[in-house]
């Protein structure tokens, strides 16, 4: 017991450095990981699918996909995993850490870009580096998927209007025969810079400073 504990602590210490979580949080998350995986070492999509609370979430599929997306592992790979281990799980979670009082302006910028990149990867399902009209339409459709028929009708119109807005803001003067292929990451950043992602996209208990709460069931 003692030996394995020190061994796991040693392993966790690496993760602390890599992901920036505190040891306590990593232990908590590890517990949760074991719960989800049924005491295995890896999680598959089915494990995440079976979380009952997620059933009512309209973008459930995208969220689960994001865990298995190689692009979110910050290693410049593309494609997706079949199963993920604890380290990959943590890497994805680390995108949701909030900034602290000590975070400098540049670090905030980096954090914001990371979070926006995460969102971008969620939308860009074919990994070609742009969000095309069809992909964006899918996003809006999924968001409105719980609202029945009205949702689907309006989803197209909304997605079109949104794309139009991105195009008009970023490339104001287009000739009629030019085409706006898709939203690139720079345009995506530009359009969402008002939202201050680094302060909004976070889970409170992943803040290193607050007292960590234990993961429930």
């Amino acid at each position: 017991m003692g030996a394995s504990q020190t061994h796991s602590e040693h392993k966790f210490q690496d993760l602390v450095d890599k992901t920036g979580f505190s040891l306590e949080q990593i232990i908590n998350l590890h517990k949760r990981f074991k719960q989800l995986s049924g005491n295995e070492d890896t999680i598959s999509r089915e494990n995440l699918d079976s979380i009952p609370a997620l059933a009512t979430n309209p973008i459930r599929k995208q969220i689960i996909e994001a865990f298995f997306d190689k692009r979110n592992q910050r290693q410049d790979e593309v494609g997706s995993f079949h199963e993920i281990g604890f380290e990959q799980f943590l890497m994805v979670m680390s995108h949701f850490r909030p900034p602290t009082l000590k975070t400098t302006e540049e670090e905030r910028e980096v954090m914001r870009r990371e979070k926006l990149r995460f969102l971008f990867n969620m939308h860009d399902t074919d990994s070609d580096g742009t969000i095309t009209l069809d992909e964006y339409r899918k996003v809006v459709e999924e968001l409105l998927s719980k609202s029945g028929a009205i949702g689907l009708e309006a989803a197209k119109a909304i997605a079109d209007a949104a794309m139009l807005e991105v195009a008009s803001t970023n490339v104001p003067h287009m000739e009629p025969d030019e085409f706006y292929e898709g939203i690139t990451f720079e345009h995506f950043e530009q359009i969402l810079k008002g939202l201050e992602m680094e302060s909004r996209m976070h889970i409170r208990f992943l803040d290193v400073n607050t007292t960590t709460m234990h993961c429930g069931k």
Partner: protein, 792 residues
Amino acid sequence: MPSRTGSHRPASFGSSLPERALLLVLVLVFLQGSVLPLGAASSPDVSHQDKTDNHKVEAQGHNYTKKAFPVLSIDYHYIQTPFEISLWVLLASLMKLGFHLIPRLSSIVPESCLLIVVGLLVGGLIKLAGEQVPPVMNTRLFFLCLLPPIILDAGYFLPIRPFMENLGTILMFAVVGTLWNAFFIGGLLYAVCQIQPDNPSSLHQIELLPCLLFGSIISAVDPVAVLAVFEEIHINELLHILVFGESLLNDAVTVVLYHLFEEYSGIGTVSVLDGFLGVISFLVVALGGVLVGAIYGILAAFTSRFTSHTRVIEPLFVFVYSYMAYLSAEMFHLSGIMALIACGAVMRPYVEANISHKSHTTIKYFLKMWSSVSETLIFIFLGVATVDGPHNWNWTFVTVTVILCLVARVIGVVGLTYVINKFRIVKLTTKDQFIVAYGGLRGAIAFSLGFLLDPAHFAMREMFLTAIITVIFFTVFVQGMTIKPLVELLAVKKKQEAKRSINEEIHTQFLDHLLTGIEDICGHYGHHHWKDKLNRFNKKYVKKCLIAGERSKEPQLIAFYHKMEMKQAIELVESGGGVKLPAAMPSTVSMQNIQPKKPPPALPPERALPQLSKGREEEIRKILRSNLQRTRQRLRSYNRHTLVADPYEDGLNDFLIKKQKIIELEKKITEMNNYLTVPSAPPDSPTITRARLASDPQAYSVKPTSDSVPTIQVDLASPQSPDSVNLMDEFRNARQPEQDEDRGLMMKPPSEAKGPKRPEDAEGAKDQQRLMRCLSDPGPSADEDEDEPFLP
């Protein structure tokens, strides 16, 4: 919070106008000052005279002394009270007008200061005239008539999201901050009063409890003053909601403290039990107020569900229910302000989904108007009451009060922020703290509470009042005037004027779901989880009860999108009938640029058809649908009880489609002037131009029976032109791919030129005639568009 100041007249009016305005202002002030005492003085005489006349007539019985029939007589007494009220309101409004005519004044001095000065002037004039100053700062008048409109305006338009996100911080400032202020000021004042043992002054008579009472009155940040000043400095949303939220929520604390100390200052001591009861009382007051407000809010929302046939009185429900919430809360000595805020905030999402656009505008403008007038009157009355009120100036007391107020506020804010920042994600910087501390203005509520004090129990009431007025003047004048330059100096973040874009809305919703999902994966029931649960509960049960008809199922994103479209449509129309491009879309990007480049279709080479992109199809489909709908609409009868035959009333769809048509029209016009509509079209031929013109929605009328057959006619000039025909063909194919019954009115493309051409030619001829008639006579469609009141 949108500004309630009047519009700024252009400076091009000439330099004589400001002087004239100033003169006008002075004349009015003088008039006001003179009429009121005149009214007060003359009315008893006049009425007395009338009575004696009557008596005389009656007493004389049959011996009438024949007087001349009074052609013109003055009976001021009859109309006195409403007349004076109206005069005051008129004065207030004219003052507001006047200030904005004087160009530089309103940018240096905030309105509240100017209004107090005007009040001082009027009060001074009345006093000079030797008359009794009317007791305008009547506490009942203030709390029951002047305060509710301002609070309702604030509550109804409270930005819920930032308020809820910062609720913890706001509550900390409101509750703990006010308590700290009250005890600090009260306690230290008592200590100061007890100093100078060798030189006993009147201050020694002041007990501890009256001091604490005074502390609690003076410590509350006043929403009226805060609103008046903060509106003009356009500070960023976070700071605005912090200070403003604090000023609203500290009402509960003030009410409890005030009653507590007032009750017990006669007795002289407060036991621990009383303190404990005080805490309980606070909870009851605060939560009770919110509960009362919420109940009335739900009632209002429920009522608005059934108002679809009586749109005219919709705003009335909003106002009356809110006012009753306030009065009911006041009846139980609960916090009326919190009731009003809760009522407005609870009812707003449901009421707005139910009421018409016009009622929404009415509510908005009535609230702004009433709150504006109220605010103006409050400041003027403050000035008048200052001149009037019995004063007892005591240098020590007053100066110590002012200093203590400032010190207490600064210490309170700094201390609390230190604690709060441990729990906040977006921390409050020093600059923020400074603005929060500096923005703690006192106002008329403090004065009214002081006025309420019973002179029998409180001998030093006048001294208190003097001190309160001094503090109010100090905060409003000094702090109010200097906060704007300080904000500039410190480069505090200003309010972002950017309007909410659809992308931001989509991603806000997306983020909400994402974060809820991540919380669920972590198994952590954080506040996203609960917020999501609340939203689902709201959608499933509450919305069904409170929102009429189809709108109850409308998800928030779609509602937002429709609202945005409405706004754009209105902008479009207001910018000159829709012919010019609206300023909101300065780019030349249109939907066709967005369509991904399709690979060239693998078609037989002889079919050189213009390709219709999918977006174009959609638009065309919509035009077709809209025309059918318009016909149905024209047939509805006009009812006197609906204000105008308003197409907006029924269904958002009509409006949207209309707007789309406008955009279509203007797009077409610009396109026609510039370039091809269709990406890979053949070179522009006159036939194509005319074909497009023919598909112009205004140029043809709709046959109601032509449901199965598309009604777009072929162009006149050369019906055999393959290009134009194929365009129509595409329409037809796009619209009803499954319709095999496409013989109807269309020409066949030459590539399929088999089959009977004869009957089609005949039909074609008929169509041509119809088309000629269409093209020459624009038809009722054009008129209808002109008649309809586009501006809501």
